[in-house]
Symmetry: C2
């Protein structure tokens, strides 16, 4: 067993409206950042987990994203896995 | 002027409690993922903006994060900037 750190990025699918992103974009314009063209807001999730190996960690994380962390109907996800040094 | 895409990661400082992360961690345990040790939830923000050059984009994004996108009291942020191909 080894420890892994995963960095998961969950983003809305491009075809899905992002009202929060639009609000932030408008807020940035009001603060004077006129160059901002679009803002999309997603989630960034860090998970530490113990798994047999990198492949096992990847399989588990794929399932976690599909079942809980992302809503596959409106969101995409991707992740990176790093193996942590074992003590 | 050039177009840039920024990927901004906003995370809670390590000393700040993350109740949402704890709830997700417990949810994953209930789904059978016993190997999960900790979960921290942050924000992932994609911003497209027009700026004079990469340095200008970086300065503007630093200010945006400090003023609106992150709460510097409890959150850290970092970002990557990519120049988009001009039409």
């Amino acid at each position: 067993m080894a420890d892994f750190q995963a960095r998961i990025y969950v983003t809305l699918r491009p075809s899905v409206l992002d009202p929060a992103g639009v609000a932030v974009c408008s807020g940035l314009h009001q603060l004077g950042y006129e160059g901002v063209e679009s803002v999309r807001i997603g989630k960034y999730i860090e998970v530490q987990l113990t798994a047999a190996d990198q492949q096992d960690a990847q399989t588990q994380l794929d399932q976690m994203c599909d079942r809980l962390l992302a809503n596959p109907v409106i969101e995409n996800y991707c992740f990176e896995i790093t193996e942590l040094a074992t003590a």
